[in-house]
Amino acid sequence: MEEDCKPLLGEVRTGESYSHGGSTDSLDYKGKRPFYVEPRNIVEDVSQERVSAEAAVLNSRVHYYSKLTGSSDRLLSPPDHVIPRQEEIYIYSPLGTAFKVTGSDHSSKNPSIVTIFAIWNTMMGTSILSIPWGIKQAGFTLGVLILIFMGLLMLYCCYRVLKSPKAIPYIDTSDWEFPDVCKYYFGKFGQWSSLVFSLVSLIGAMVVYWVLMSNFLYNTGRFIYNYAHNINVSDTEFGTNGSEKVICEYRGTDPAHNDSLGSLYLGDSGNSTSDVALFDVWWNKTNTVPFYLIILLLPLLNFRSASFFARFTFLGTVSVVYLIILVTYKAARLGFHLEFHWLDSTLFYVPEFRVFFPQLTGVLTLAFFIHNCIITLMKNNRNQENNVRDLSVAYLLVGLTYLYVGVLIFAAFPAPPLYKDCIEANFLDNFSSSDWPPSSSTAAVGEVECLAQWHVIVVVKGSESVTHSLFLSDFQGTSETSHFMVVNGLDRIACISPRSSECRESCTDKTPCLLPGRE
């Protein structure tokens, strides 16, 4: 029976005939709904009507309209209130029998646990690497309190965003995203401002990822150079002795000193010192490597399809899990070094309450940010009434993860030989590249994932949304050049939050997060 039914289900056929190369279409079930198949009984000559006339003619319309637009264009795809209800849908075989589609429809709904995981996965970004630094900036107690408070605040805001489309009367808001809601209340200004704020956070994340990727590139180049020239760096790093090496990039007691340890090297001979210096000029973490990264990433702009790189986003989850294991291991080996000095600053420790706490709140706003696609993520929750509960659980998990990593790293940072102030904005920088377990490999895994997400978002979605919105589609038909222009126009653009690609994966709606939505 299943074999008989398979060819009738038009998804396969229609999908193939419609594909125009946009391979993100595989996730768009809505555009290919053939809710009805004309029963043509080829065995008997029975003239009875098995389906209603309205369904038959609607099917004819749906097929016709789908020929008029591009495969990924949703302009003429049937809205939900037009398609017959699930209970009225049957599947027929040419041999005359039929069965009903039971259970959930084809764009499968997820159980709560999957939704919670999707939200957790999407929210976990590279902010996790900055939480210990943030706690250090705010002071330990204040940091923990702020983390909890910000988590609750962001949860409440997210809850409001989630509830906002439902509060609009008389209009079918089932496919609205948050910019559409803003447009409803505030007009064009609202739509534009919500888009701008979304983009700001995305651009911020892009910059972060660019920095991380250029760091990685720098370290790789440095490692290769050191290996090739037999240079040993471990003696020049200011850090602890012993098996668990933690380094402090500042020398002496001046934390404002930037790292230029690379300039101090023990080379093989005197000649190589000048070579080293030359190398340092051309391979500089802040001055040159970020530009080399442009050359490396430029070819990726030619990849129009998002799905190839989208498959790498699972590496994000892997790297977070690995990070947690790493953190636990390090904390177990290093032990706790905590002293509570409430308001005074000592040499090795930081006070519990510091005036730099806004830096932590800044980090946390991006860490807990998922508002631009929460509506779409929640759409696929099987039991919609549990949305708020699932959201709260997800935020709780995220908060606990951040708290865990932040507190453990902060507490385990060996304060007597080093200063708590040394905790870097990316705490992986505090661990030497030569120790084990390799913290650099976490960075490597994370970098591949960054790359994937960067490409997906910048090339495919980000530039599309930016060009269409900012340049008012005067660039129509020149998508390639417009993408190029956008990418080159923005200085040091890089990766993007994992959210958008993640929510694309987990939801069937393809363009939820970045595009300003349909008017």
């Binding site: 009507e49 006339a53 309205e54 038959a56 003619v57 609607l58 004819s60 319309r61 097929h63 016709y64 309209y65 020929k67 008029l68 637009t69 591009g70 264009d73 302009l75 003429l76 049937p78 809205p79 209130h81 037009v82 008389y170 209009i171 079918d172 269409h468 919105s469 008012l472 589609s473 005067d474 129509q476 038909g477 595009l515 300003p516 349909r518 008017e519």
Partner: protein
């Protein structure tokens, strides 16, 4: 009125976002280019950045009913745009108009403004083309709950009739997910065909002579059924729309090969159907349920009938009393 007169226009107007592009694409079987999608909604005439308002009108060079050209205009939402629009370009737009089709979005929250724009259009029509026919489509009715549709439509119809005086406007309620769009446009086209009643009478005679089960007359560009004759009750009330959709899809496929659709014959043991060019504005579809009649006979009949119907269609030709000839 000579047939070499300037092309008359069909204006399809309405607020931006009211569904005109979708409607045009569906009725005329045009592919919708991606960039006119809602994202840049009024990309047609938006660039209101500087002093000049350059609006980019959609001229679909669709020859519709012989010598009519379809023009699609956005009555945009920006007020400055509207002022310029109605002063400098007004005469250009509203001259030589045969039909004005104005589309209202039923879920629009700015009813006053919509009516205001509509009245401005009507004034311009009165000045420049007072003989034009006016049709109002209340669109997107599928977004209204079923039990309220009639009520809301009646309300709107009354308002529009009142506002349109002294011009007479015909109102339809439409939705692209309903048969209402098809029926509305069929009615519109029906009223635009010259000598349509005569055509219908002759069509009946033609059908009876060739012993056809059903004969349909389609308009050429849109494949809307203008008139039909059936000798017995048919089961499917929506068959016209289905046929139109099927043929339009076929036309779309043909156009990808740069071929144009001319005629089609479908035959099985139960029936034979012929679709062929008929007059300069129409196509005909003949359905014979007697399989013993050879195709060639029917095709000859169609060819002979063609000449007579051509003469009927000519507006300035002398009226032939075709009844006597065909009998």
């Amino acid at each position: 009125m000579s047939s070499t007169a300037m092309k008359k226009k069909v204006l399809l107007m309405g607020k931006s976002g009211s569904g005109k592009t979708s409607m045009r694409s569906i009725i005329f079987a045009n592919y919708i280019a991606r960039d006119t999608r809602r994202l840049g909604a009024t990309s047609k005439c938006v660039c209101v950045k500087g002093v000049t308002i350059s609006f980019d009108v959609e001229h679909s060079h669709v020859r519709f009913l012989g010598n009519l050209v379809l023009n699609l205009w956005d009555c945009g939402g920006q007020d400055t745009f509207m002022e310029n629009y109605f002063t400098s370009q007004r005469d250009n737009i509203f001259r030589n108009v045969e039909v004005l089709i104005y589309v209202f979005d039923v879920e629009s929250r700015e009813l006053e403004k919509d009516m205001h724009y509509y009245q401005s259009c009507l004034e311009a029509i009165l000045q420049n083309s007072p003989d034009a026919k006016v049709f109002c489509l209340v669109h997107k009715m599928d977004l209204v709950q079923e039990d309220q549709r009639d009520l809301i439509f009646k309300e709107r119809e009354e308002d529009l009739r009142r506002l349109s005086r002294p011009l007479a406007c015909t109102c339809f309620r439409t939705s692209i997910w309903d048969e209402t769009l098809y029926k509305a446009w069929s009615s519109i086209v029906y009223q635009l065909i010259p000598n349509v009643q005569q055509l219908e009478t002759n069509l009946r005679n033609f059908a009876q002579i060739i012993e056809a089960d059903e004969v349909l007359l389609f308009e050429r560009a849109t494949f809307l059924v203008i008139s039909h004759y059936q000798c017995k009750e048919q089961r499917d009330a929506h068959r016209f729309e289905k046929i139109s959709n099927i043929i339009k899809q076929f036309k779309l496929s043909c156009s990808k090969l740069a071929a144009s659709f001319q005629s089609m014959e479908v035959r099985n043991s139960n029936f034979a159907a012929f679709i062929d060019v008929f007059t300069s504005n129409t196509y005909v579809m003949v359905i014979m349920s007697d399989p013993s009649i050879p195709s060639a006979a029917t095709l000859i009949n169609i060819r002979n009938a063609r000449k007579h119907f051509e003469k009927l269609e000519r507006v300035d030709g002398p009226k032939h009393s075709l009844h006597m000839r065909m009998r």
